[in-house]
Amino acid sequence: MIPVETLVKPAKEREFKVNPAEAPTEDYHDIIFQLEKEGEWEVLRVPEPYIEVETKFGRKKKIPIEKTWHHKSCGQCGHIPGYSTSIFWINRKLGLDYIDPTDQTSCTAWNYYASATSNVAAQAAVAMRNFAAAAETGYFPLIHCGTSFGHYKEVRQELIHSAELRRQVRDILAKLGKKLVMPEEIVHYSEWVHAMRHRIAEMQVRDMSMIAATVHPACHYHKLVREDAIYDPEIYGAQRTAIITATLKAIGVEVRDYSTWYDCCGFGFRHILVSRDFSRSFATQRKIEVMKEEADPDVVVTHDTGCVTTLDQSQFAAKAHGRNVGVPVMSDSQMAALAMGAHPYKVLQLHWHNTDNKPFLEKIGIDVEKAWQEFEEEVEKIKRGEKQYLTWEDVDA
């Protein structure tokens, strides 16, 4: 096997300069503002103050700090709810203003990529309905799901290039009493975590320096409409996306490389639901086992719903077959929240995850038994009717 260092060395030693003027793809910013001038739609501006980051070809992207409208993710909210809870918790801890809306639907793209039981107009109308709903509140959409993020960027491309589709979607929205509004940027929550990483690090209370992690960048983050993803010369010499890795470095986690970093997780959209033999095989043989063998991480960190699900859940059956697996999987939001002192069960909700995460938690000094008992006590109170729900006040008590 070729050592990983040999593969990444040239990128580190040589300097590649990006020049946005020579980018091989068009700049969506110019086009969406031009279309606004022509009266085709309104552009929803990124609220100030924002943080500017650099994307693949050296263009700038604005990341809002607050006044964010949280476009939640089906799989996160449904099956790994500590993922989204951690995003909200970090916002609250940093004292930032946000909305967790009920006037939001799924992007429906998981279903679309799985079953194709939809079409280009329906997908665009769902996206633009959500954007219009965000605009009505005066807040700016922050997209929790990697697939929603990638899909919405595709929808933006389609709308930019088709006057007919714009007309069709504008007409549908008009019937719903809504305007056609295109956000100035389509922003993934992990880009927000990335942009906020130094403020997160300032509020860090748990030492994470003994932790080694491997990173899985989500396909729908950096492969779909590839130019609109964060790259940084300081991270991998900008030869791959800086997302997650820069955040982990900021909180002192050691990031270890492995040769199949570009591979997908095996989610497959339909496969994870109805053909899981494929998802399990891919996730364990092409990702987890390679990570174990080449990097031996304490934790795998990723930034999308499907990736956390597949990489985590697939390990159970592989373990039963005696394979070399057994690494907990978390989102960057959960890792950042942990660093800032979040409770592993009340905030990170790690009991919804599958692979044993106790050794990892103990390594960063958490008394796992005690933490679980604290969570159980809260659950008991709900059971006894002493409280209806676990509240934000409770989790930091």
């Binding site: 799924s106 998981w110 079409n119």
Partner: protein, 234 residues
Amino acid sequence: MALDLSLNRYADVPYEEKERLFNEVKQDMRYEEYLYGCYECGICVAACPSARFYDFSPRKIAQTMAREDVETFYILLNDSIWDCSQCFSCDRCPRQNSPGGIITLMREVAVKNGLASAQQALEGYGRIVYKIMSTGTQVSPDMLQPNAFPDWGPHVKEISDNLDLWRKALPPETLHTTETGWQVSDKTIIELYLIWHYTGVMDMIKEVDEGLFMILADVMEERLEEEGYDVTFD
């Protein structure tokens, strides 16, 4: 299943029918941006997860479309496209193709035309389509049932046994739900139903799953009627 392109299993399907479907794919507004030709370099195959575990190749998809090989197109339309993971790793194509994107279009055409292979591929998937179309969120907490995910081990049962309580033990106010991923407002659901109506998505459902169509139509028509909309899905 092995993908045997030498053996034409669909010889009895008239060429005109295959060509009609081929043209339907080509007519999609996205097609021109997804295919610029093909170097036949195989870079897409190297990046493709499905190619590792199935007899499947994004190169074959791009190459077949670029050569306008209608016969092979029809075989792939039936025997290959549902193996794709829709990860878009193949978007690194040096010719700027998106084989995964072409597959999305082919799947849409397969569904719209109610091909038997599409119906078969979507067997067992109806409950997911029902969930997303009727509630606006996919994979709800109550879908985490041990019989649906036996290979995920006993922790699925633990979650389903504790579901109500564990949902209440979530601090975000929108997440106390069990039948939907989060709380979606009534007005939002109505708007979603109207989008399905205005964009003809229900016609596609009817082609692949008549039973699912009828259940969905009932649920949505009733809700819409309550809100004063006279909509019939037929």
